[in-house]
C-alpha cells in the first residue's frame, strides 16, 4: 500500500456567504484515495459528506459558496486552481459522480442512449454508430436487459433501479480513474440497493477504478469500503481501515454511530431501546473554537471546548480527539 494516492484532499475549506456572515461548511478536510481503493465517507446529515464530493469536482454552488482554502490533488494536479476548461475535462472523464436521486438525474427530454452517447462524444470523440455500439455495451455492462431496445427509451419509461444503472453507465462511460457515489441507493428499494452495490463492486473490480462511497449506512461501509473516513461538523474526525474503525472505534462519535445500528438478529424478547447520540449536528453558524462534537460527547474534557483537536495517529488510524490523544502524544 505504499503507492502514491490518486486523490489527496488537503485542508479543504468551503464557506457560504450570507447576510449573517460566512458559514464554514467544510473546515479543513483531509482525505486520500489510492488507485483502485474504495474509501467510505460516513456521517450524519449536515456533516459535509456531499459538500466534500462537490468540492472535489469544484461544483460547490457559487455564489454563495466558495472553496476558501486547501488543495485537491488529483494525480498530482491541484483541481482547486485548475482552469475551467481543464476541470471540465476532468469531470465525467477522469472523475465521475453518481447522485442520490436517479429519478431526476436524467434529462427527461432525451433518450438514455442519446445521453450516454453525448458523454462519450464529449470526452472520447466517439460519434455515430461506434458510439451507439459502445453505449449499448455499457448498458449491458450495468445489467440492463435488452440494452439495444433500452437505448431508445426515455427516462420516465425506466424504473428507479434501472435509471440508477443508466447513471452508472454514464459515469463509467469514459473509464474514469475515480468514481464518487453520493448515497447512490438512498432513493431505492432495499433489494435494489443490494443489486446496485454488487454492480458497483463488480465494475470496480473489473476496471480497477477507485471509488469514494458516501453513505450514512455503516452496514454498506462494512461491506464495500477498504478504508473509512468519519465526518463530523465539516471535518474528518477519524480515518482508517474499515476493520480497524468498525471493530475498535477510537473517536466517541464513531463509537456512537456504530452503537446506533440496531441488530436485527438480537432475538431477546425484551426490546432494548434504540441507541442514539443525544443532540444535533452543530449549526454551521456557531462552530466554536473547540471540538465540534464537544457538546454531544459523553467523555468531554475541559480542553475539548477550548481547542480544536488535531489529527493524531492512534492505534493505527488517524483520529481527532483530545481524550485519545493523551496516551499517544
Amino acid at each position: 500500500m505504499g503507492d502514491a494516492p490518486l486523490l489527496a484532499v488537503e485542508g479543504l475549506c468551503v464557506e457560504f456567504r450570507s447576510r449573517r456572515g460566512a458559514a464554514r461548511v467544510l473546515n479543513g478536510v483531509d482525505l486520500s484515495v489510492k488507485p483502485g481503493e474504495t474509501l467510505g465517507i460516513v456521517g450524519e446529515s449536515g456533516s459535509g459528506k456531499s459538500m466534500t464530493a462537490l468540492a472535489i469536482l469544484r461544483l460547490v454552488p457559487s455564489p454563495p459558496g466558495r472553496i476558501s482554502g486547501g488543495r485537491v490533488l488529483f494525480a498530482g494536479e491541484d483541481l482547486v486552481t485548475a482552469s475551467d476548461s481543464r476541470i471540465r475535462d476532468v469531470r465525467g472523464n477522469k472523475i465521475s459522480m453518481i447522485f442520490q436521486e436517479p429519478m431526476t438525474s436524467l434529462n427527461p427530454v432525451f433518450t438514455v442512449g442519446a445521453q450516454i452517447c453525448e458523454t462519450l462524444g464529449r470526452h472520447t470523440g466517439l460519434k455515430g454508430r461506434p458510439a451507439r455500439e459502445r453505449a449499448i455495451a455499457l448498458l449491458q455492462d450495468v445489467g440492463i436487459p435488452a440494452p439495444a431496445q433500452r437505448f431508445d427509451a426515455y427516462p420516465h419509461q425506466l424504473s428507479g433501479g434501472m435509471r440508477q444503472r443508466v447513471m452508472i453507465a454514464m459515469a463509467i462511460a469514459c473509464e474514469p480513474a475515480l468514481l464518487i457515489a453520493d448515497e447512490p441507493t438512498t432513493a431505492l428499494d432495499v433489494t435494489v440497493q443490494a443489486q446496485i452495490f454488487d454492480l458497483l463492486r463488480e465494475i470496480q473490480a473489473r476496471r480497477g477504478m477507485a471509488m469514494i462511497l458516501i453513505t450514512h449506512d455503516m452496514g454498506v461501509i462494512a461491506e464495500i469500503a477498504d478504508r473509512v473516513a468519519v465526518m463530523y461538523g465539516g471535518r474528518v474526525v477519524e480515518e482508517g481501515t474499515t476493520r480497524d474503525v468498525l471493530d475498535r472505534p477510537v473517536h466517541p462519535y464513531t463509537r456512537g454511530l456504530i452503537a446506533c445500528i440496531p441488530d436485527i438478529r438480537d432475538d431477546t424478547d425484551a426490546r432494548a431501546p434504540l441507541s442514539e447520540i443525544p443532540g444535533l449536528v452543530p449549526s454551521v453558524w456557531d462552530l466554536q473554537r473547540g471540538c465540534p462534537f464537544a457538546d454531544r460527547c459523553s467523555e468531554v474534557l475541559p480542553q475539548c471546548r477550548a481547542e480544536m483537536p488535531l489529527h493524531r495517529l492512534v492505534d493505527g488510524r488517524k483520529a481527532a480527539c483530545w481524550q485519545r490523544a493523551g496516551g499517544e502524544a
Binding site: R91, R150, L188
Partner: protein, 292 residues
C-alpha cells in the same frame, strides 16, 4: 417495484413529441385551426404564382359590387380586384407575422434564459430592460420606427419584434429559474458540460413546451399589430396587405363594405386559427392539462 418492472415485458418506446402530436390531433378545435391555417398559408404561398396579376392593377370600374365576372369579390374605390388583393396581401401579412414573432421569441428566449440561469446582477439588468420595453407604448413606438425609416416589411417586422419580446422573456426566465436547480442539470455539470451547452441543449429543450405555445400566440398578435400599423397608413405602401386594404377602404366603408369586410374576415380567421392551434398545443404539451 423495480424488481418487478425489470422483469416485465418492454413497453414500446414512444417519443414524447410523437405522444404530444397524437394528443394534438385528437382535439377537434385544434384540428380545425390547423386546417384553416394550412388553407390560408397555402393560398398566400401558391395564389400569387397561379394568379400572376399585380394587385394594384385596375381591373374593373371602381366600387363594383361582388358577384361580377371581372371581380368576384368586387373592386375597391380605385377599381382594384379585392380577391387578387386578398391573395397577394396574405403573403405580406403572414410574413410580417411570422418574422416579427420569430424576432420577438429569439430576443425573449435569449434574454430570459440568461436572466434566469445566471440570476443576480445579470437578472436585474436584463429584467429592467424588459420592463422598459413593456411600459413603452408598443404601437406608438412601432409608429415612430415606421415613420423614421422607410416602412418596408423588414423594418415593420423588426419594430413589432422589438416591442413584443418581454412576455416571452419573462416566461423563459421563470422556466430557467425552475429548471436550473434540477438534478439532471447538476449531473450534466458533473460530466463536464460547458455553460453554453447547459443553457441551450439541456435546459432549453425542457423549457420548450410553454415557449412553443407562447410563440404561437405571438404570431397571432404580430399579425394584428401589422394590421393596425397598415390601417393607420404606416405599413409598406408598395406591398398589398390585409391591413392596407382595410386602411385604404375605410373612408368608403358604407358604400363599399366588401373592400374592408373580406380582409377583416381573413385577419379574423387567421388569428382565430392560430389561437386554436395554440390552445391545442397547450393541451398537448402541458402535462398538467393532459387527460389520459
Amino acid at each position: 417495484m423495480s424488481a418487478m418492472s425489470d422483469a416485465a415485458p418492454l413497453p414500446p418506446v414512444v417519443s414524447p413529441l410523437r405522444e404530444a402530436f397524437g394528443i394534438f390531433l385528437r382535439r377537434p378545435t385544434a384540428l380545425i385551426g390547423l386546417v384553416m391555417l394550412t388553407a390560408i398559408v397555402a393560398c398566400a404561398l401558391a395564389g400569387p404564382i397561379l394568379l400572376d396579376v399585380d394587385p394594384f392593377d385596375i381591373v374593373a370600374a371602381p366600387l363594383t359590387p361582388p358577384g361580377t365576372s371581372e371581380a368576384w369579390l368586387g373592386s375597391d374605390q380605385q377599381g382594384r380586384d379585392v380577391l387578387t388583393s386578398l391573395i397577394h396581401g396574405g403573403r405580406a401579412t403572414l410574413a410580417v407575422g411570422a418574422v416579427a414573432a420569430a424576432i420577438a421569441v429569439s430576443i425573449g428566449i435569449t434574454m430570459g434564459a440568461l436572466a434566469g440561469y445566471f440570476g443576480g446582477a445579470v437578472d436585474d439588468v436584463l429584467m429592467r430592460i424588459a420592463e422598459f420595453f413593456q411600459v413603452l407604448p408598443a404601437l406608438l413606438f412601432a409608429m415612430v420606427v415606421a415613420t423614421l425609416f422607410s416602412p418596408s416589411l423588414v423594418v415593420i417586422s423588426l419594430a413589432i419584434g422589438v416591442v413584443s419580446w418581454p412576455p416571452t422573456a419573462r416566461l423563459t426566465r421563470a422556466e430557467f429559474l425552475k429548471l436550473r436547480e434540477l438534478d439532471f442539470v447538476a449531473a450534466e455539470r458533473v460530466i463536464g458540460a460547458s455553460t453554453g451547452r447547459i443553457l441551450w441543449k439541456v435546459i432549453l429543450p425542457n423549457a420548450m413546451p410553454p415557449l412553443i405555445v407562447s410563440a404561437t400566440f405571438a404570431i397571432g398578435s404580430a399579425i394584428l399589430f401589422e394590421a393596425s400599423l397598415s390601417f393607420l397608413g404606416l405599413g409598406d405602401p408598395n406591398r398589398m396587405s390585409w391591413g392596407l386594404m382595410i386602411g385604404s377602404g375605410r373612408s368608403y366603408m358604407l358604400t363599399c363594405w366588401w373592400a374592408v369586410t373580406f380582409p377583416g374576415l381573413m385577419i379574423f380567421m387567421t388569428v382565430l386559427a392560430i389561437s386554436l392551434i395554440g390552445d391545442g398545443l397547450n393541451d398537448a404539451l402541458n402535462p398538467k392539462l393532459r387527460e389520459r
